[in-house]
Each structure stands twice: as structure tokens, then as C-alpha cells.
Symmetry: C2
């Protein structure tokens, strides 16, 4: 039996830290993407929160893969992480390349490694429940499965993909085979999923032996896997090979075909998980569903009258809101956003327009 | 026949420049009240616009009455006005004291004076129509009437008082007696008023000989009139007598009882007039009733998606508004207001709360 406390033997936490978080503009910018921000008001950034969650499981075995422009900021925020393991992508090539690079390096570095990949911008309210799930997943992964954590849906969300569970796996309490990964459904379809009890949210959390991941990749994208292993064998080839890697998510490159091939297992988990995709989900996270407006930051700066929603007074100025429900007010030193929770997704239109009109420095 | 161009003989323009404009916070502050701001995007403040309108009629005969803290700013904005005629009230005592002080001084200074009193924070779109009305009013006033301009109502407003017209005055084309001044009515009552054709908006514009005004005041408030004349006779008595003057509007102190006594005449006028009382009226003024959001200031700073209302980017930052109708966003360097046109009146609650909570420096 594995221990249920302390680091997991040969477990490596891989943290892909990418994505600009366009829908969280003007808090999140391409120069300072969302994982570098404290969006939870805890005093720790999302990236630091991710490390805090994983360090008890991985000890010093942490790999971060990030864009070259953010490598310095990542190392500054994570002084505990060996700078050699803060990997800088020459350019953004989606999650398969990022996680695959870590897998290829770990395959050579630690043949007994089990890696778990967890995005840098998620929020998990129950770290102990999360940790227990990862421990189970790591054990299952040692048997050469591609293991994913399947999160108990809190509501019929149309914003997430789902994992369709199959049969229970013999010998691993609670783990089940994965029938398939399904794309973001309509709310109605999501409700039907929830009624069956056989669907889980797909949070993109994968636990797997590096060799298993790369071998699976090699089945459907042999050149991709070979290039990653070539980079790991000779890191001077990174600049040469990286630009040719396909821009594809790990889900599409490996997880979906591997599920079809019967190679994926799910560990159903009950921790509360938030993917802060936009200001609507951020508002939920910081308590805007209660009465009144939620404030992320210095609440003494905010005055509200008959208003609900989210106010972020990040410019140090007084912010007054009168008579608006579900409003979102994001006040930063050089840009102000006013929208509603329902329209939070459309913030990316503003970012696109700013880029087009030559104000990229604000995006 | 008086000339219809050039200054009016012995006509004195009196501009009471008071009131904090609390409902226009955070644009308007007690330290910089609304008449000191360019709220029309013309490059001239409301006060300067008022002078621009009156200077062709009064030439150098202009009196401004303002609060002591604003005397310097008023003189700075109006270098054309003789500093001796920028009168500083020791404390705010409402419009009767302010206008009465000017009247008492003018009574001694120019026995042939006709004065016209026009608030510093009104906006008039048709200065020529306005000027023509003032010329008629000044002629009527020489016959010792208290003359008011009655503005053709543009819609059944419940925000203004009305003038109920009586019989036409012999010998003065268009001028009529005033039956009574009526308080702000309901919209329904206002609609009934408009249907009769015998009601005009009361914009508080009075044209009168100073002696007539003070004598009328003396009928109902003899001590008030005597104190004003005592100050004019010996200005060193200002500090002593001013604090004892009643805080009352000229409308209540003189115009209403004088109408009952048959002493008031109205010159019906058709100029477009705006009293920018709150952000709803400011939004109308700057064109927010058209499609999209109106911007007061540098429109290149504003990005809107599916939004209408008013945006004032007075802090020089980019302001993005997504998916809000009739919204009001007032962005200043130290305070931000987000509200709706319908709730614009309630901004004063924020100002009151800021004062209570020790943030008076922002109000």
C-alpha cells in the first residue's frame, strides 16, 4: 500500500503555464498572463497556488513549462523550483508539445517517473481531496494507464468537456475505464449526462508514466513523439525542432484516441475545482453569488449602492457602483473594463479590437 | 425701438455661480463644482459658456457671485470680467442672497441698471434666440416688472418647475403676465400643462431693475432687503450681516409672491435649454440618445461593444464597456463611478457615504 501522506515515490508534477487569459483582460495581459496573478485574494498567484497544492506530493520534483517571455516571472514566483526545470518554450505550441517536452525529458531523467500534469491557472478548494485522488491516480498510472481525474460536476456546465465513465477497474478502488471524452455539450445535454451519474468534468489533469504518454503519442503522431525525444536527447536541437511541432492539445493528440483504444482510466474525484475562464467564473469564485457585490482586492476602496457582481479595484482608486446587477468592474492603472457577468466572454472582442487599433501594449 | 444687436444699454449680467453639483460626482467636486467644468465638450466650461452668451448683451457689465473658495478659479476662467465684480460669498446662503447682493451693489453703482440673472451651469443651444428674448425682457423690465424667461417645454418634464402664463401684456409683443409659478409636477400633470399651451419651463432666469427686485423683496422680507442694502452701502459690513441672511431661493422669496401680486411678466422663449442636473441629462446633452454610447472627452480612449449610455474617460485611461445599456461610466484620476442613466440621481448617496466615512477629500 502506498503511503497516504508525504511525497509520492518518483512522482513529478508538471505544470504547463501558458495561455494569455484574454477573457480576463485587463487584469490578465499577454505580458502578465492570468497564472501570474492572485485572482483568489489569498496573497498567492494561481501559479503559486498550483505549486502549493502539488509540492506535498512531488517535493522538489516539479517541472514548469512556460513561454519564454514569462520564464523570469515564473522563476521569481517559484523560488523553490529548480531553475533548470523551468522550461521555456521558444513559441506557444499548445499543450501536447509543452507536456510532451516535459515527458521526454523525464523519460531520460527518471525511468521510474510517474508524471502528473496540472494547469497553472486552476483553483481547487479541497487540496486534501485532490491529493488523495492524485495518489490513487499515480498508483494506477504505474500499471501503464493514461489516468485522468474526473471531477464530480457541480452543475450541468456547458463550458467544460466531459469524461464518459465505463467499467470499474479491478484492483484500483473507484477507478474506472474511460469510454470517451466528449466535447462541451449544451446545458440540456449536460443535464442528461448528470442524470446518468456516469459523466465527469474533464479538467485536463493527466497522470501517466512519461514513456506511456510518448508511446501513445507515437501511435497517432509518430514524428511528433520522435521529435520530442530527439530534443530530450540533445537539447541544442530545441530551436530547430520546436517550430515544426504540431499545435494540438494533449486531449486531441492522445487522450481521445487512447480512450477509443481502451487505454484511459479515470479516477473520479469530488474536490471543488474552478477554471477561472472569465470574470463570471471569477465572480463565482470570490463570492459574488451572495448578496451585494464581491470585491477582489481592497474592499475599503469600493462603494456600492443596490448593486451585485464583481469589483476589482486594482488601481487604488475609489470605485463607486450604483444600481447595477451582476456588473463586472475591473479597474487597473491603465485600462478599465465595465461589463456584466453574462457578457464576460465578450471581453476578448475588446482585446482583439485593441490589438487591431494599435494598442497592443494594453493587451 | 431698442437695437437688436450690440450691448443693451445699462444691462448688467449677473451670474450666480454656486452649487456643488453632487449628482455629477466624481466629475464635479465641492472643490471644483460643475460650472468650472467643460461638460459639453466645447473646450469652454459651463461658466465660460454662460459668459460667452451674455457678453454680447452686457459688454463689460458682468457680475459673478460665487463661493469664497471658488473666487480664484472663477477669475482665472473669466479674465474678461473685472475682478471687483467677482463677488465672493462668505458662505452659501442660496440664490436670493447671492442675486440680492448683486442687486444692492448695482442699485448704487448704476441707477439706470437692468440686471439679468442667469445661472452659471446652464447650457443653451441657441444663443441668438436667447439674446433676442433677453432684449425683449430688458425692455419690459424697464417698466418695473419682474421679468422671467419662460422656456417652451420640449417634453413633459417632472424635473422642472413651470410658469403658468396669464394675459398678454399690452405694448410688449409676446410678453404675458404670470399667473403663478408651479412646483415640479408629476409627468402626468406636466402633460396636462403642455396640452394647454399656457405653461413654460421655469429656468430661474430673471430680468429686473435692481431697485424693483429689492423693493419686492422688502415687501415680504424687509430686514433681508435692508441688510443687503446696508452691505452695499458699507461693504465692510458683509462679514457681520451675511451669516444672518435667510437661506432662501429667489423664486420663493420674491418671484412667487410677486406673481400673486401681479408684478411678474414672462417672455416666452423657444431656445433649447439644458440644466445639467445629473448624468442622465448630461448623457442627453452629449448625444447618448442616439445609437451607441456617447463619449465626453477623448473618444479614442473608449471601446464599446453592444453598449449605450455615457462614458467620460477623464483619467486618460482606456475604458472598455461590453454589453450594458444606458450605462454611465465616469473615469477620473482618483475616483470611478459606474451607474445607469436611470439611477443617476442616486450618485449623491455615494457622495454622502464618502463624506461620512472620512473620504471628504474625494467629494
Amino acid at each position: 500500500m502506498p503511503s497516504d501522506t508525504g511525497p509520492i515515490d518518483h512522482f513529478w508534477a508538471v505544470i504547463p503555464a501558458g495561455g494569455a487569459g484574454t477573457r480576463l483582460w485587463p487584469l490578465s495581459r499577454s505580458s502578465v498572463p492570468k497564472f501570474l496573478h492572485d485572482l483568489t485574494g489569498t496573497g498567492r498567484t494561481l501559479l503559486q497556488g498550483t505549486l502549493d497544492r502539488l509540492a506535498p506530493l512531488a517535493a522538489e520534483r516539479v517541472v514548469v513549462v512556460t513561454g519564454r517571455p514569462h520564464r523570469g516571472a515564473v522563476s521569481d514566483q517559484l523560488p523553490e523550483v529548480d531553475a533548470d526545470w523551468v522550461l521555456a518554450e521558444p513559441s506557444p505550441r499548445d499543450s501536447m508539445a509543452a507536456i510532451g517536452l516535459a515527458a521526454a525529458l523525464l523519460e531520460r531523467h527518471d525511468p521510474d517517473a510517474v508524471m502528473g500534469s496540472f494547469a497553472a491557472d486552476h483553483v481547487i478548494a479541497d487540496p486534501d481531496v485532490f491529493a488523495a485522488s492524485v495518489r490513487v491516480a499515480a498508483e494506477v498510472a504505474r500499471d501503464d494507464w493514461l489516468v485522468t481525474l474526473g471531477i464530480e460536476p457541480a452543475f450541468p456546465s456547458s463550458a467544460f468537456g466531459y469524461i464518459h465513465l465505463g467499467e470499474e477497474l479491478a484492483g484500483h478502488g473507484g477507478a474506472t475505464s474511460v469510454r470517451e471524452f466528449v466535447e462541451k455539450p449544451s446545458v440540456r445535454t449536460a443535464s442528461e449526462y448528470l442524470a446518468t451519474g456516469r459523466y465527469r468534468w474533464n479538467a485536463g489533469m493527466f497522470i501517466v508514466r512519461p514513456t506511456v504518454l510518448l508511446d501513445l503519442l507515437g501511435r497517432w503522431h509518430p514524428e511528433f513523439a520522435a521529435d520530442l525525444r530527439a530534443i530530450a536527447a540533445d537539447r541544442s536541437r530545441l530551436e530547430e525542432l520546436w517550430p515544426g511541432l504540431p499545435k494540438i492539445a494533449l486531449d486531441h493528440a492522445v487522450a481521445e484516441p487512447a480512450a477509443d483504444a481502451g487505454r484511459v482510466v479515470c479516477v473520479p474525484s469530488a474536490f471543488r475545482w474552478e477554471d477561472i475562464g472569465d470574470f463570471d467564473s471569477l465572480a463565482s469564485l470570490v463570492g459574488a453569488d451572495a448578496e451585494g457585490a464581491a470585491v477582489l482586492g481592497d474592499a475599503s476602496l469600493v462603494r456600492t449602492v443596490d448593486s451585485t457582481g464583481l469589483v476589482v479595484p486594482a488601481a487604488g482608486r475609489v470605485v463607486a457602483v450604483v444600481g447595477l446587477d451582476d456588473v463586472v468592474v475591473i479597474d487597473t492603472p491603465d485600462a478599465l473594463l465595465v461589463t456584466t457577468r453574462a457578457r464576460a466572454q465578450d471581453v476578448k472582442q475588446v482585446v482583439a479590437e485593441l490589438k487591431e487599433s494599435g494598442r497592443s501594449e494594453l493587451t
